[in-house]
Subunit: 385 residues, 2 copies
């Protein structure tokens, strides 16, 4: 019986299951003869024969599942070598797969492109986008990003209020290996230069601790507080991640060659530097870590809908060809389109140069982008501090 196979790869997001839900419902609608199968733990589920039948899951259950954050089918960071690719293709063949929809980031798209190149069968390969990093080429933004960005923006507004009540310095370390979108997103809620984040450090701009301390000093002297948003992946002038420099090269990488960053090391270094420069100030570093990427308390409604629509479009497209679903913005509306996999696979989108105003601030252009995506900032009324 012909089938469509769906899987999820990479780190989870708050809305990745909306995409799964949308894909299942669209597959049912567009070709009721297809069996709908879910591979558990990404492509691992195919080689390990760990597949669940989703054909008859009631629609109400699918919507409940869609509203639950984090990969419902399980995920993986495995990068298949050519042998494993053969095994995966053989499994797809055994399942009589006409389409394989893989929900994930640029590494997931890379896996699909490998499979597509090696495949000689009738199966189409479609990538449905998700990532909190917002680093997929060809996309205006990526499902999963808005909810994560809203979490971070809420965090930085709240920390700012905290430090308006009692002076001090706060650094939030935010996930982001190569792209600073998530770290910079809170700039979309800035209404005055006094609003946090006062300083923003992303992997796109060179970072140095002495300059960082000078910049904190200037803000702290002016406002009595300084709220900083810093990417885990900040890099020195040589383009070397600070965490790698700190670890003296003894770092872990995953199967895709991605550095396994821990915000903790960077955080401790930053804490030490702040303590040595600002002996009397309250200075605190927190690692937001995993919180932004699937926080059930802050799921954005637009993000939910776009993730669902991306899943629908992926399943529908997969009936006729291969490619990567991207969210296109025409200046007015967001709509999904299909582009060749190679334009997304394994590539990283960075924050554009014109989103920056110097090495530690976001430009009006950048703020406008994030403001367009973020939900409305909560009302804040503090006339006395």
């Amino acid at each position: 019986m012909p089938s469509i196979v769906i899987a999820q790869g990479g780190g989870p997001t708050a809305v990745i299951n909306q995409t799964l839900c949308g894909a299942i419902l669209a597959a049912r609608r567009h070709d009721p003869s297809l069996q709908i199968l879910g591979a558990r733990y990404g492509v691992r589920g195919l080689t390990a024969d760990n597949v669940v039948d989703l054909t008859a899951v009631p629609e109400a259950d699918l919507h409940r599942l869609g509203n639950t954050p984090n990969s419902a089918l399980g995920s993986t960071r495995d990068k298949p070598d050519p042998d494993t690719c053969s095994d995966i293709l053989a499994a797809l063949d055994r399942l009589d797969a006409r389409a394989f929809v893989y929900i994930g980031g640029n590494d997931t798209a890379g896996t699909l492109e490998l499979l597509r190149q090696q495949s000689s069968g009738p199966c189409h390969f479609v990538h449905a986008p998700k990532t909190i990093d917002n680093d997929l080429m060809e996309n205006d933004h990526v499902p999963g990003f808005i909810s994560a960005a809203a979490f971070v923006a809420n965090a930085l507004v709240s920390i700012d209020l905290d430090f308006r009540a009692m002076p001090g310095i706060h650094v939030a370390i935010v996930m982001g290996r190569h792209a600073g979108f998530l770290t910079a997103a809170a700039a979309g809620w800035q209404q005055s230069p006094d609003d946090a984040p006062h300083l923003i450090y992303t992997p796109e701009q060179p970072f140095s601790i002495p300059r960082f301390l000078d910049e904190v000093d200037a803000v702290y002297a002016r406002l009595g507080r300084c709220i900083v948003s810093m990417s885990e992946g900040v890099q020195d002038e040589m383009g070397r991640p600070l965490t790698e420099a700190l670890a003296g090269g003894a770092v872990e990488r995953d199967a895709h060659g991605n550095l396994q960053l821990t915000g903790g090391d960077l955080g401790m270094e930053i804490q030490k530097a702040l303590k040595s420069r600002f002996r009397k100030a309250r200075a605190r570093v927190d690692t937001l870590g995993y919180l932004p990427r699937g926080y059930i308390g802050v799921i954005d409604e637009t993000d939910r809908k776009e993730a669902f629509a991306a899943g629908e479009f992926a399943a529908q497209s997969a009936l006729t060809g291969s490619g990567s679903v991207v969210l296109h913005y025409d200046g007015d509306r967001i709509e999904p389109r299909l582009v060749p996999l190679e334009r997304v696979a394994g590539k990283t989108r960075h924050m554009p140069d014109d989103f920056f105003a110097g090495s530690s601030a976001v430009s009006a252009e950048g703020r406008g982008y994030f403001r367009r995506l973020l939900p409305t900032r909560p009302d804040i009324f503090l006339p006395f501090v």
Copy 2:
């Protein structure tokens, strides 16, 4: 002109301004002849003559202010010595204060008790409770706690979902100097022993790293994941905070003698210990830090109302006498009552023994308490992992 003075002390919460709002509106209602003054940055505002007139702030503005997290008047951790107490009392005298309502935790209550003892004037001293630590004696729970607990519970449910999708170990370091309520609160949402937090470490129970690693090992072997909630203030068998042991005694204390903990140091030590024991597992430590205490994205409605009611009751009580407002639970309803300041001042409420089941788990009794306070757990539906 006779006045009532209001101030805020200690760390902020998500709903501390509801208490301010309630106090102002109740003062207006119960004695319209009173001038209503706000001391900025706690008692510091009195000695520094930094006082704002709140008498005529429009009610709509007060409600907006009430909905904004974190101390609207500013805060302080100063502990006044007898000389400073004299200065504060002289300032209250100059302001013709009939009542001083100070919103804060047990240190704030302690400051009020000092003032009350030293005062010979007509001013009443009333403490309105707030703290995310939930560590005030005589209270069923304290305004500010429920919102913070909801933040942490949402965090741990979300992290649990994250690790159901990909195996690993996660430790969240949660604020809590002496009392483990906030660290343990997420237990209120556990529906089965497989639900996070799988291990809970609070200051009330002795902590040792080797035992911690053994316990993580057992959970990880059983479930393929282990989600841990750990207080910044965990202590060794000798009752010594682990952070203090790590720092070799070189720690900071505030004016009240409270240890200035940073979750980062503890986090790094835990990360190191996990890495040496579980070489191949994904192991991650994040410090939630300041996030739970005033997160604008997660403000609990019950908490909001109780904080407002505590403020109303404080201002009303202050017209006739001194004391500490506490939230009393009669088995059915929560209602505010006034108790002598000395029963709350400077004292710490710990989690009761019967809230624990061993040194790393919460009992059914404890879970019931947290479940009663927390909002309903979000729906989670993940049939495949």
